[in-house]
């Protein structure tokens, strides 16, 4: 279909990259928005093509390998496997949704904003596609830089400080991972030109003794744990989510946190299975603590953005715990939940953004009775909120059910404690819905108007996606079963 020169992974990385660079040079503001939306939609179409392309049973269009730093054994190797397809699809789906939902928002220096957004999309695509450790590290850091500028430039009052905290946390984590990558690299076999190789397959074939695995595990894990974030490394997250402009918060929480989950599945589990088995209790313990802790804090939040941020920590905690059970059921659950969580939380942010844009506040205590004023918004939000609690028929139910199943097989105790977080999620989500949307209308919310058609459309798409995922999750399993099976075999 595409020959050997231009493959789908190429298009997924370079199309947003080039589109982003072009954006910087567009003069007209309307043109910038239209161009960004158009290119995001084209990326989405490319991504859909990549989902169907596998039926051709040819790998030629899906993997690419160029000897980039020949004497170092690093190559520009990109490939699409099941998990890669899933997450690139999530990325490609999210950006048009984000752009449409925030289409009416205006920013100073608009072209730079949209340009950086598209660059971050390219970086994210690169992370999910690369099958070379050095290339992975490249994109891992590159995805961070545009987001750093986006948050610091267009965020809230305390943006510079909170974004910088985020940057230093992740940068330190990444550098530790870099040591880990180089150490593993030095143990690999060579290629024709170099002593060692950064290729993923060479990495997978290195066998480490348990003591090496133990410390390498932590070098990698800290980088991923900061990104996800897992309990003691999470302190950057609520501040950053709160301060970032909402469009960027959507990228951060919907897609970027998946980089951490993805990293664990793609690199940590296959490379250090013994260490994973050794430290599983610590990691699952931390994740479960984080889930309960974040849920309890979420109940007390008055700021809608912080509430959603803490609820996100709880959801990610469950994913992390499920991964470390290394049960195939749990991993399949994580796969579908990565996608579902991305969609649901973007839906949540869109609602928060719509409220804030109209009323100028995110404080729950100042809101109330929106259901009378904006019934469509309310219906949409209730559907998204139900997905946030993981009720049956919603997409999150499938994933959470499987993850809890896996966790239960691992240990009934953890599963029981983690199960509390579902109840807590119901408490904070429903009480938020109650306080914001029901109750009596006050002077401020009197001014609320129904949301416009294109906003209804975007939320509608998200709600439909939530129900499709809940009723017919089979395609997701089909897509990712190879990846999961590949990982499980490394634990046997």
């Amino acid at each position: 279909m595409f020959g050997n020169d231009i493959t789908l992974p190429h298009l997924l990385i370079f199309f947003p990259l080039i589109a982003g660079v072009i954006t910087f040079f567009i003069k007209n503001d309307g043109g910038v928005k239209a161009w960004s939306l158009l290119s995001a939609i084209i990326t989405f179409i490319i991504s859909i093509a990549s989902l169907y392309y596998r039926n051709n049973n040819e790998l030629s269009g899906l993997a690419f390998n160029y000897e980039w730093l020949k004497y170092m054994g690093a190559s520009f190797a990109v490939s699409l496997d099941g998990m890669g397809r899933l997450l690139t699809f999530l990325t490609a789906f999210s950006f048009p949704v984000i752009f449409i939902a925030t289409y009416r928002n205006s920013y100073k220096n608009l072209k730079a904003f949209y340009g950086l957004m598209l660059l971050s999309q390219a970086g994210l695509m690169g992370v999910f596609l690369s099958s070379d450790a050095l290339l992975f590290y490249f994109f891992w850091e590159l995805a961070l830089i545009p987001v750093y500028f986006l948050c610091s430039r267009w965020g809230g009052d305390k943006r510079i400080h909170s974004t910088f905290k985020f940057f230093i946390y992740t940068f330190t984590g990444s550098l530790l991972m870099l040591i880990g990558i180089i150490y593993v690299y030095l143990q690999t076999g060579g290629t024709a030109y170099s002593e060692h190789s950064f290729a993923m397959q060479s990495f997978y074939s290195v066998i480490f003794i348990p003591s090496q695995q133990s410390w390498l595990f932590w070098l990698f894990f800290i980088a991923f744990a900061v990104k996800m974030p897992i309990f003691p490394f999470h302190t950057w997250q609520p501040d950053t989510y709160e301060q970032a402009p909402t469009a960027v918060t959507m990228v951060l929480s919907g897609i970027m946190v998946k980089m951490g989950v993805f990293g664990v599945i793609r690199w940590l589990l296959p490379l250090f299975p013994l260490a994973v088995a050794k430290f599983d209790n610590i990691v699952i313990g931390l994740s479960v603590i984080g889930m309960i802790y974040a849920s309890l804090i979420a109940i007390k939040q008055d700021d809608l953005k912080r509430l959603v941020a803490y609820s996100s920590i709880a959801h990610i905690g469950l994913m992390c715990a499920a991964i470390f059970t290394t049960k195939s059921m749990a991993l399949e659950g994580v796969m579908i939940q990565m996608f579902s969580h991305g969609i649901n939380i973007i839906g949540m942010w869109i609602v928060v953004d719509l409220i804030e844009k109209q009323l100028g506040t995110r404080k729950i205590s100042q809101l109330g009775g929106l259901a009378h004023k904006a019934p469509v918004l309310t219906i949409m939000l209730v559907a998204i909120a139900l997905a946030n609690i993981a009720l049956p028929l919603t997409n999150a139910f499938v994933g959470e059910f499987m993850m809890f199943g896996g966790l239960f097989k691992f240990s009934a105790w953890y599963s029981a404690i983690a199960g509390l977080s579902i109840i807590l999620a119901a408490v904070y989500t429903l009480s938020m819905v109650q306080r914001v949307f029901y109750g009596s209308v006050n002077a401020l919310t009197e001014t609320m108007k129904e949301i416009s058609l294109n906003e209804q459309l975007v939320l509608g798409v998200i709600v439909i996606a939530i129900f499709i995922g809940g009723i017919y999750p089979q395609p997701f399993f089909e897509l990712t079963k190879d990846t999961v099976a590949g990982i499980i075999t490394r634990f046997k």
Binding site: L69, K70, Y71, L134, Y137, F138, E141, L142, I145, F149, S152, R153, R159, I160, F164, F167, I168, F171, T172, L175, L176, L178, I179, I182, Y183, Y185, L186
Partner: protein, 469 residues
Amino acid sequence: MNAIILTAVWGIVMMFGGVFFKSKATPKYWAIAGLTLIIIANCLELRSGEPFFNVDVKYMLSFNSFNLTFITVALASTLLFFLLSGRDIEKVGANVSEYFALIFFVLCGVCLAATFNTLLILFLGIEIMSIPLYILTGSDKRNLKSNEASLKYFLMGVFSTGIMLMGIAFLYGGNSEGSFFINNINVGDGKMPAMIAIGMVFIMIAMSFKVSAAPFHFWTPDVYDGAPTVFTSFMATIVKVGGFIAFIRLFENSFGKVHGQWQVLIAIIAAATLFIGNLTAVFQQSVKRMLAYSSIAQAGFMLLAIFALNDTAKEGLILYSAAYSLATIGIFAILIKMPDYTIQGFNGLGKQQPVLAVTATVFLLSLTGIPLTAGFQSKLFMLMAALRYGKQYWLVLFAVLCAAVSAYYYFKIIQAMFFKDADQHLGENTSTALGNDITPAFKLLLMITALLIIVLGVFPSLVTDWLHY
């Protein structure tokens, strides 16, 4: 060989040319033209291995692809420095052609330091490098700070020279055959003989002084701060990496066999340099002083090459020299144009001078070591070299944590440029003061420098492949 002779000759031409040059701007063009020719001559020698001048040096100099590649990097960085900051050299004082002449003499010293084969030439190289710098540091004659810096630099420099000579004497005395050749030093089979060990430590101290490694770095911030900013830029880059090349060549050829015996010393020096450089830079308010400490911190990273002392380290050191010089020359070229050297002085630069701000960001990201910039590749090489050695992992961990600290102070400038607004009345001053001096050609050169950094960040082999000729 070409570079050594031609830089010396051209230095003399520049010095006497001063009598004939009518305009103040002329020496710059002569210097740029001369340096371009010297680079071409040097590249020809690198490709063919045949110098223009056939001088019998009695094996006191050695030329191989490593030395010559380094000389190319140093000369090319100097050319860039001339192009970017040539106009600012003219502003330092009246004796413009002499400044250029002195810079050419420094280059001659750098070439000697990169090619020496005996301790005598090493000494000559280091001294030829240093003495013109003492003068350049004090070239802003009416400025007390410049005078103080010059005197300080001179006294400290002379002291370290003394230590170095002492070390050389010990090495000579410890050698039964009485030879100055660096390959012939008798390091013994087991433990080093006492005389040699003492001599080596003395030389290590003197070299650490030259590359401003802790705890011999105390002169650096004051001298860098006091010297005219253009010459700080030159000192912090080309001269410093020249010192490093001498350092690694000496320790590889003379003491490579007993690497294990002195390696811990270097590890401690590297860790101390990283720690002091980074930690102190965090607290600086003046960008010039901060860059002085940052140059100490970067020296700490370069010391990892001497710690590891393998092929990756040598390759990496060349790349590091190029990456570090490009970024530092670039950021200094922008700093010189700023009316206010404090971090607040950079506030709002992103709005007033977007080209300057964006290129400065590239330079700072490169110094931090963010992927896609040459700084990342060079740090990667250093870490790879150190890990390949396979011991003392704590040093690598420590270096990485220090690199994370460095993000803090480099990003403070980025934050000031893009996320903070200029003070209103100050802002107008800044934009007018800035506007006068910034030509389209300057902007273009900055962009080319930034582009070079990115190209090297993606294809570091452009530099390292020269080693394989």
